[in-house]
Amino acid sequence: MSTIENLPLWAAILISALLVIGSSLALIGSIGLLRFKTFYERVHAPTLGTTMGLFTILAASMLYFSLAQTRPVVHEILIGIFVTTTTPITFMFLVQATLYRDRFEGGDPLAGLSEEQPQVKTPNDP
């Protein structure tokens, strides 16, 4: 097991770049959470941190520990899988709760939603 000083230069640069990208995305996502005005817009912002931000940080972790322990360390993939498959559930709950409240208060945001044109439609069938 080697320490951080023994990392090759290219690896140190790559790992730090991945970490900086990941944490910047998480930061930008949090700024978006503050800046956006409506709930439905705000939901989008933190996904920066849970998608690309998460994956760059996991990649950095895999790279660092694989080099430091001179064996492939890949169980971070599981974190990625678990987070990607569970965030939609949280988001759906949040959005459904908001939709329910909006409808309850009389302002259904989906009320005036235009029907999408169906794929195959024969107008004025005889």
């Binding site: 920066l48 690309m52 169980h75 599981l78 939609p88 759906m92 235009s114």
Partner: protein, 161 residues
């Protein structure tokens, strides 16, 4: 076979997850993971989960690659939107008529829609198979229904249905 391993794909995934989690290929861990994998698939039988069959591995890889590229692109787009915060942004809801119906396709589609920032899953109407998503910035006349159908739906159909 059917009786002992009702969900072979899911059992294999459970075993893989267990081994990854423990970072070991020892006999003990293989045995423990095997028990967990078989027990897990029995629980799924009790839950009456629809059976899962992967058709084409190559299509799955293609879908994965496409999602990663789209994820990177939409991350960049949303990050730019947040930093610039342009006032003429038009957020809105979009109705999409889906063709895929299976639970697994819809579940994976939910993961994809959520994993690409800028689109979020709002509601699904099972009666008429309509999905409603929220889009952060409706650029010009980007046809989101068409995007979902062309990029993902065809591949999902090939994989699960």
């Amino acid at each position: 076979m059917r009786r002992w391993l009702p969900f072979p794909v899911i059992s294999a995934m459970l075993l893989g997850t267990w081994l990854l989690l423990n970072e070991s290929l020892s006999t003990g861990q293989l045995l423990l993971g095997g028990i967990l994998a078989v027990a897990g698939s029995w629980i799924l039988v009790r839950l009456e989960a629809p059976s899962l069959l992967f058709r084409r591995l190559r299509v799955i890889l293609r879908l994965g690659l496409e999602v990663i590229v789209d994820m990177a692109r939409s991350n960049y787009r949303v990050a730019r939107l947040i930093i610039r915060d342009k006032p003429d942004r038009t957020p809105g809801f979009v109705r999409i008529q889906l063709k895929v119906r299976s639970h697994y396709s819809l579940a994976l589609l939910a993961c994809i829609v959520t994993a690409t920032p800028g689109t979020s899953w709002v509601a699904y109407e099972p009666a008429n198979n309509v999905l409603i998503i929220h889009v952060l910035d409706l650029v010009d006349d980007d046809d989101w229904g068409e995007i979902i159908r062309v990029r993902y739906e065809g591949l999902l159909k090939e994989i699960f249905e």
